[in-house]
């Protein structure tokens, strides 16, 4: 029990996350990907947005909507029922007006960027690399370098 309640180390989490590639393929013939769920949520919240998002393949990606509902439930279960003590995942400072604004702007970059790039850490880094797709390697290298440079600049140059 204690093993479950404590934090899980990388050698447990990494391989388990990677196993979702074959699991989703065998159980549903789906390629693991998450960022298209943003598009799906838009069309669920505002049905008329489908007109503008006409090139979004609703049928093909609808399973991701259910998958992310699961991720939400999993976050709740893990932190409130399967942990010895409740953990925090965001810095205290983000609970302020400027913090909300930063998260919101960051969120826009995530939504816009991942859809423009046709994938994220799930679709490109885990699935794309599992398929040995060079295009996904290009995307992965780019968002890692971009994040790294931005973090270094914001931490060491701006502060």
């Amino acid at each position: 029990m204690e093993l479950i309640l404590n934090q899980w180390d990388w050698y447990i989490a990494g391989p388990l996350l990677g196993l979702f590639v074959p699991l989703l393929l065998v159980l549903g013939n789906k390629l693991l990907g998450i960022s298209s769920s943003f598009e799906h949520m838009c069309t669920v919240i505002i049905p008329r947005s489908r007109n503008i998002m006409s090139r979004y393949d609703h049928q093909k990606n609808s399973w991701k909507f259910y998958f992310v509902i699961g991720i939400f439930l999993g976050g709740f279960l893990a932190n409130f029922m399967l942990s010895a003590r409740t953990m925090h995942f965001l810095p205290e400072e983000y609970y302020s007006l400027t913090g909300y604004l930063k998260l919101f702007l960051g969120g826009i970059l995530i939504g816009f960027g991942t859809r423009y790039a046709d994938g994220c850490t799930a679709g490109h880094t885990i699935t794309g690399l599992a398929l040995l797709n060079p295009a996904s390697l290009a995307a992965t290298v780019t968002f890692f370098i971009s994040g790294l440079l931005f973090t270094f600049i914001s931490v060491y140059l701006i502060t």
């Binding site: 899980w8 990388w10 050698y11 447990i12 989490a13 990494g14 388990l16 996350l17 990677g18 196993l19 590639v21 074959p22 393929l25 065998v26 549903g28 013939n29 949520m41 838009c42 947005s49 259910y66 998958f67 699961g70 991720i71 939400f72 976050g75 709740f76 279960l77 399967l82 409740t86 995942f89 810095p91 930063k102 998260l103 919101f104 702007l105 960051g106 969120g107 826009i108 970059l109 995530i110 939504g111 816009f112 960027g113 859809r115 423009y116 790039a117 046709d118 994938g119 794309g128 690399l129 599992a130 040995l132 996904s136 780019t142 968002f143 971009s146 994040g147 440079l149 931005f150 973090t151």
Partner: protein, 136 residues
């Protein structure tokens, strides 16, 4: 029925992301500042497991439940893979979340992550709005 499978799988995915601290802003910060190898080990071992799994599925000619041929086609490259990823990397650094973890953060009680999620939905919509004007 099929949708229930995806909710169950998603729940397991969310539990793993949360229990291993992958959804933590602090871990992402340390990853980008190269202060600890933790996230690289998580992601690296996930990739390796994925590669080996796909090779095994191919080698043994495994088919999907229902007998369908497995869909193993990678995404086709366009310039957005680079331009879009530049934006995403910055958003990832600011929020400490990529598209999966943001849902787990909200579920785990980090209400501020709702701002990340709201932004992400608007960002995805913006992409479709501007799509025809962007280089691909």
């Amino acid at each position: 029925m099929t949708n229930l499978i995806f909710i169950v799988l998603g729940t397991a995915f969310g539990v793993i992301l949360t229990k291993s601290d992958v959804i933590s802003w602090f871990r992402i910060r340390k990853m980008f500042l190269l202060e600890e190898p933790y996230m690289y080990l998580v992601i690296g071992s996930a990739i390796l497991t994925g590669i080996i799994s796909v090779q095994l599925l191919k080698k043994f000619g495994i088919v999907a439940r229902g007998g369908e041929q497995l869909n193993l086609k990678g995404k086709a490259y366009h310039r957005g893979f680079i331009f879009g990823s530049l934006f995403f990397g910055i958003g990832w650094s600011i929020t400490g979340a990529c598209p999966g973890p943001v849902f787990a953060q909200v579920g785990a009680g980090e209400h501020a992550a709702l701002f990340t999620l709201g932004g992400a939905l608007i960002g995805a919509f913006l992409y479709h709005l501007l799509r025809d004007k962007l280089p691909h």
